[in-house]
């Protein structure tokens, strides 16, 4: 892989993970994996982000935070659930304060398995998300085109 068409900016939110996936997400940015060379930047501002990386399961207290972050992101946007906890709740699924995977509140596009998800898997997930992002962009453009056409 020599280049990617778009350089997605990433917003990372730790649902209720054990930190394992979070440090692997951060490890993707650091010299061994270094996704920044493709222009992938971990941003703290949801309005700048294209991809939401969510690690860990959701609970009653963080559901509003997760929803708010997602709503603040500009369209088109993609959600990647990193790790088994974000997919189903994993080993914590029986805990009383765990509602379940991220898909209980958000439309998840890509699931990255693993406990903890390896950086290679996280990068692969982001690449797949990028393809979905492009697809979404195309459909959005088509829709806009037909609407404008109908207006005339």
């Amino acid at each position: 892989m020599n280049f990617i068409k778009k350089s997605p900016w990433i917003l990372h939110y730790d649902g209720s993970s054990c930190n394992g996936c979070d440090i692997e997400v951060l490890a993707c940015l650091t010299p061994l994996y270094d996704v920044e060379r493709f222009g992938v930047i971990n941003t703290g501002n949801p309005k700048h982000a294209d991809i939401l990386l969510i690690t860990g399961s959701v609970n009653e207290q963080n559901i509003p935070v997760v929803k708010q972050l997602y709503e603040q992101m500009a369209e088109p946007r993609v959600v990647v659930a990193v790790g088994i906890c974000a997919a189903t709740g994993g080993i914590f699924s029986e805990c009383y304060n765990v509602v379940g995977g991220a898909d209980k509140v958000l439309p998840v596009d890509v699931y990255v398995p693993g406990c903890a998800a390896r950086p290679e898997a996280v990068i692969d997930g982001v690449m797949r998300a990028l393809a979905i992002l492009e697809e979404k962009q195309k459909t959005a453009r088509c829709k806009k085109g037909t609407q404008e056409g109908a207006g005339v």
Binding site: E24, N59, Y96, A116
Partner: protein, 359 residues
């Protein structure tokens, strides 16, 4: 009195990968008070002990925190082993000590990177994490995992390290030591870094004791408190002295952690050289009955594991007191009187692990 403003910090904040929320009460630029609210990553792991039996719970305990996962598993195993009167093989004790020290190393490198990020030194962050990958490679080679190993088990450890792997560790330690010396020079001597850490967040030794600070936070204020001196696992057979600094500011806490990195490298070398031959696990029979307190030293300080068993395979209670929880009162004290721009550096100075704290 000027205008009082309340600035919310978190739960999603660029400096911290983890969610913690602080309400910072400001008088112009100065923080007057910090009010924490937690609960964003509470899962209820202590109650999960009712649903997972005491052997399965080892893997839950490891997932209390992904940074010091090995030590959580080790603490839980030590408490159950003590209840059951299981004597682990000597090689297992040395392997546990070695992995625990490797965990401390990677955790301190991780913290150094995050601190550098907090004061805006991006390339230093990258260098710290580059060096950290060497330790993760050792983990991957000896246990198969990078952050969660599932290698600790009741009765010993589930994997053995062969002579070749141990030799490799020794050679990596040499490279690591050289690289660390180069890297830590920046933290200790660079004037722009010192400008951000010297004299910031003073905590006196008396306050550290009164507020119940543990680990590097207490040791940087001159409190000689290191649970490894209790001699659990193989620490009783190794020679080391707790790292203590007296200044009590951010710089002293940085210095304590940096000196601990060299101490850990030395301990790992001692472990490898003294590693006895033999089995690594003993078979455990029956169910535990009784209760026990275990104290051990994590990268962030003392962690307490309390287990209570009733003779069935499900434990009655597991209680964990984590170091970050013990350090939060000290953090709130040091935040008072600092400027808003220094808040990220001060929060990172306790090396917060919210996932441990809330479980």
């Amino acid at each position: 009195m000027g205008n009082r403003t309340i600035i919310p910090f978190g739960p999603q904040h660029p400096v911290l990968p983890e969610p913690i929320h602080l309400d910072l009460v400001l008088d112009d630029e100065t923080v007057v008070e910090a009010i924490p609210s937690i609960g964003y990553i509470h899962r209820g792991l202590e109650k999960l002990v009712e649903k997972k039996d005491y052997l399965q719970y080892t893997y839950v305990a490891e997932r209390i925190c992904g940074i010091c996962s090995f030590m959580h598993g080790m603490g839980y195993c030590m408490s159950v082993e003590s209840i059951m009167g299981v004597e682990i093989p000597e090689r297992a004790a040395f392997l546990r000590t070695m992995w625990a020290e490797l965990s401390r190393l990677q955790s301190h490198f991780l913290w150094m990177g995050l601190l550098a990020d907090a004061f805006g030194f991006e390339s230093l962050f990258m260098h710290a994490w580059r060096v950290r990958e060497r330790i993760l490679d050792i983990f991957e080679q000896t246990t198969g995992g990078r952050v969660i190993f599932s290698v600790c088990d009741i009765g010993g450890v589930r994997k053995d390290a062969n002579a070749q792997a141990l030799d490799k560790i020794l050679s990596v330690m040499d490279t690591l030591e050289a690289e660390t010396k180069e890297l830590t020079q920046v933290f200790l001597n660079d004037s722009s870094v010192k400008h951000r850490t010297c004299g910031l967040g003073m905590l006196s030794g008396q306050d550290a004791i009164a507020l119940g600070a543990v680990g590097p936070m207490a040791r940087a204020s001159g409190v000689d408190l290191d649970m490894r001196k209790l001699g659990y696992a193989a620490y009783g057979k190794l020679s080391f002295e707790p790292v203590v600094e007296t200044a009590g500011d951010c710089y002293a806490r940085t210095a304590v952690r940096i000196r601990e990195i060299f101490q850990s490298i030395d301990l790992i070398r001692q472990c490898v050289r003294l590693m006895p031959e033999g089995d690594v696990i003993v078979k455990v029979k029956g169910n535990p009955d009784g209760e026990y307190f275990t104290r051990l030293e994590q990268p962030r300080g003392e962690v307490i594991y309390y287990s209570k068993a009733n003779g069935t395979k499900f434990l009655d209670r597991v209680r964990v007191r984590t170091p970050t929880f013990a350090n939060i009162p000290a953090l709130l004290e040091t935040l008072k009187g600092c400027t808003l721009a220094d808040v990220p550096v001060l929060i990172l100075t306790i090396d917060p692990c919210i996932s441990c704290t809330e479980r």
